[in-house]
Amino acid sequence: MSQSRVVAAVEIGTSKIAVLLGEIIGDTGLNIIGHCVKPSKGVKKGEITDLDKASDCVHAAILQAEVNAKTRVDEVYLSQTGRHLIGNFHVGSSNISSPDGIVRRADLDAAKEDAKRRSLPRDRTYIHHIQNPYTLDGRPVDNPLSKEGRQLQVGYWSVHGDSEAVSDSLRVIRGIDLDVSDMIISSIASGVVLLEESEKENGALVIDMGGGTTDYVLYRKGYIVKTGVVPVGGDHITNDLSIGLRVARKSAEEFKIKNGRAYYESEDRDAKVWLFGDLTIGDREYPLAAITKIIEARVSEVFDIIKEQLESAEVFEPSEIASGVVLTGGSSQLNGIDEAAQRRFGLDARVSEGPTDVAEELRVPEYSTTLGLLHYALTGQEENQQTHKPSGLLRRLTGLFN
């Protein structure tokens, strides 16, 4: 029997729980053998607010996926999101130790350790250390080994989260006696499957706009240079519409889907749309302008926040983001969102059609994060040297439950 394990990729989202089951054979083969999406409860803005409700939904989704696949899950890869995730860029350096100035493995390790040694307050936990290119005496080098120089530097984009929030999500999985093998932040998981290698090289900004959060990752020259979470998503658009139009949440949601557009245009001024459209009592006309203005304000604000964060990290160089903005997530289905992104960022923008190398039913935005999780389950985070997790992290966190 060849070595095969069943990995469940689990995303505990604000509006839905997505589970993908992948059978990993040896080190190279991945079959997707089950999937399930269920509405989420007990999650707001990407964070678990009701552990019991969230657990029930997640457990039901995993069990359903197991039934579909007629197998049991061995381990779980879990995505992370929420405003508690914070990233920092740290540079580590080492002086080349050998007298001949040739870079050896030990110098690399020393530089990496230096970058990652920054300790966090007790209530924070590292989730990723994402490696950026080395520089040798200030010059970028892809592989500094065996090259000559005096000082080696390496940068890391490090993401850490609130220990309590992270362990809440682990608790949910622990609740059905499964172990979490690894955690990946949502933006990175989505990005890895939605972008071609060439797009990562050219530079691209992936924006995953979900129900409660908008997660983004910026690739430049093939490297992840920044990730972020804006705790605003489709739920906010619905809430804004509900408040602004003074209609029930359900009606607001319908307006958003049926009549919504991410930007306002002058033709909206005289257009009217019906609340129910079925000529029943209580049906009422609303100006389309009200709907599109409310949505435009919200969507452009989210994009502006992302742009602001990229600018303050000094990584927003349009020429270095040649592949533009790639949108995914449930809210990317909003009419005109690509146009709105294009206007705000001044970059080409498109809504992702999903990864091309999976079955059609999995190309929907619901699965992009979990597909990314399976990608990492297959390749491991170390393989492309871009992400790294200190060993013992999960042990430390899962240790909290005993």
Binding site: R83, P231, D235, T238, L245, R246, K293, E301
Partner: protein, 422 residues
């Protein structure tokens, strides 16, 4: 149904010896009181309190009190809460004299500045020592006025809520939605004054005017018997044409009442109707039916209807009540309590409301009925909300702070973008 007619036509006059005092505090509060046009209401006395003597001099109000002369030399608090506080503290006696011996105190204050924010709490403290029922209308600053004013206002709201019987916060961001599309900021401040005017007017008319259905002071008292908790307030007015339908619609879309779908735990509310001589029983009945359908069971709603001789073909609806939000839980369709606890709904219209008002012992305001009823009616179409934080669905979650703004509050409101929904 026939039995109700007698009561509807009862000519009991409201208490004429009821003493009401409306006190404007600080610059914005005084301005709002200056602008009050109290329609045919003789027995209401107006007063103003400010640190700025010059501003107060220009007010036409007869009873005025400059506080903190020793602190500010009559020059105002300059937006400093500490100065406003010291000024008010130094004149507690004067404030007590100004308040005097009344039954109902209506405080009007603009929060976010120095005098209003700080002195309101002191006035409320002094007022609390009297036997009077104390209600307060407080405007909250626009988002664009900055985070500092916002913070000051929020702190005052927290403080005042503990001191007065009913606090009605009026967020300017929300009120802005009401004016015409191109309302300037100056006009926007006037919009707030107009809302206060409507509220105060309706309240006084309800208590002082003879009605088709009288609401007396004791029914108001019973709704606001406890301090703390959150106050529900909304109005709708219309004239000409199908004014009943229009006023109802205005009330139902009142921005202070609908800020998302959050069901509040609601106790009794007062609904007051002010109409002209042409307001007949049939129209009142229609209003009652519609309002009841929309706002909950008949038992929880106390109706009042008064005739203002000066009006014709026009209607003003006002609702006022108390909700307890703190123990709020999202209603769950699977909740067994929800399906079991359907209570008998009374059938008599005016009669039932009169009885509930006259004979039933006041109930504590902290028990919910709306929540239990939610699932068995389409009540989720309309729910009450905490109107000062404007967060709707996200109310029970942590603030979503980014650059001093709460991202859970709709962007269009924070940016002052006006949304016309008609």
């Amino acid at each position: 149904m026939n039995t109700t007619t007698d009561i509807l036509f009862s000519q009991d006059t409201a208490q004429t010896d009821l003493k009401i005092k409306i006190i404007g505090i600080g610059g914005a509060g005084t301005n709002a009181v200056d602008g009050l046009k109290l329609d045919n209401l003789g027995d209401v006395r107006l007063a103003a309190i400010n640190t700025d003597a010059q501003a107060l001099n220009q007010s036409p109000i007869s009873e005025k009190l400059v506080i903190g002369r020793s602190v500010t030399r009559g020059l105002g608090a300059g937006g400093e809460v500490e100065i406003g506080k010291a000024a008010a503290e130094s004149d507690r006696d004067g404030i007590a004299r100004l308040i005097g011996d009344v039954d109902l105190i209506i405080m009007v204050v603009g929060l976010g500045g120095g005098t209003g924010s700080a002195a309101a709490a002191v006035v409320a403290e002094v007022a609390a020592k009297t036997n009077a029922l104390v209600l307060a209308f407080a405007t909250l600053p626009f988002s664009f006025e900055g985070a500092r004013r916002k913070r000051i206002a929020e702190e005052s709201v927290g403080e005042l809520r503990q001191l007065v019987h009913g606090l009605i916060p009026l967020p300017n961001d929300v009120l802005l939605q009401e004016g015409e599309e191109d309302t300037s900021v100056l006009n926007a401040f006037a919009v707030a004054d107009r809302w206060i005017g409507r509220g105060v007017n309706s309240l006084c008319a309800m208590l002082l005017k003879t009605g088709l259905i009288n609401q007396d002071f004791s029914s108001l008292r019973s709704v606001f018997q406890d301090r703390g908790g959150k106050t529900i307030f909304g109005t709708g007015t219309a004239s000409g044409g199908d004014y009943v339908k229009d006023a109802l619609e205005e009330l139902f879309i009142c921005p202070l009442l609908h800020l998302g779908d959050r069901p509040a735990q609601l106790d009794r509310i007062l609904v007051n109707v002010i109409g002209g001589a042409d307001l007949g029983i049939a129209k009142v009945n229609e209003i009652m039916t519609q309002v009841t359908k929309r706002f909950g069971s008949r038992e929880d709603i106390v109706f009042g209807a008064v005739i203002d001789e000066g009006r014709s073909q026009s209607l003003e609806l006002c609702i006022l009540g108390k909700a307890e939000m703190d123990t709020f839980v999202l209603p769950d369709a699977a909740d067994p309590v929800a399906t079991k606890s359907k209570r008998a709904v009374s059938t008599g219209l005016g009669l039932e409301t009169e009885i509930s008002l006259d004979t039933r012992a006041p109930r504590p305001v902290h028990t919910s009925k709306l929540r239990k009823k939610l699932p068995d009616a389409n009540q989720d179409e309309f729910t009450f909300v905490d109107n000062e934080d404007q967060r709707g669905y996200f109310d029970k979650t942590d603030r979503n702070d980014y650059n001093d703004e709460d991202l859970d509050v709709p962007t269009f409101m924070r940016r002052g973008i006006k949304i016309k929904i008609k």
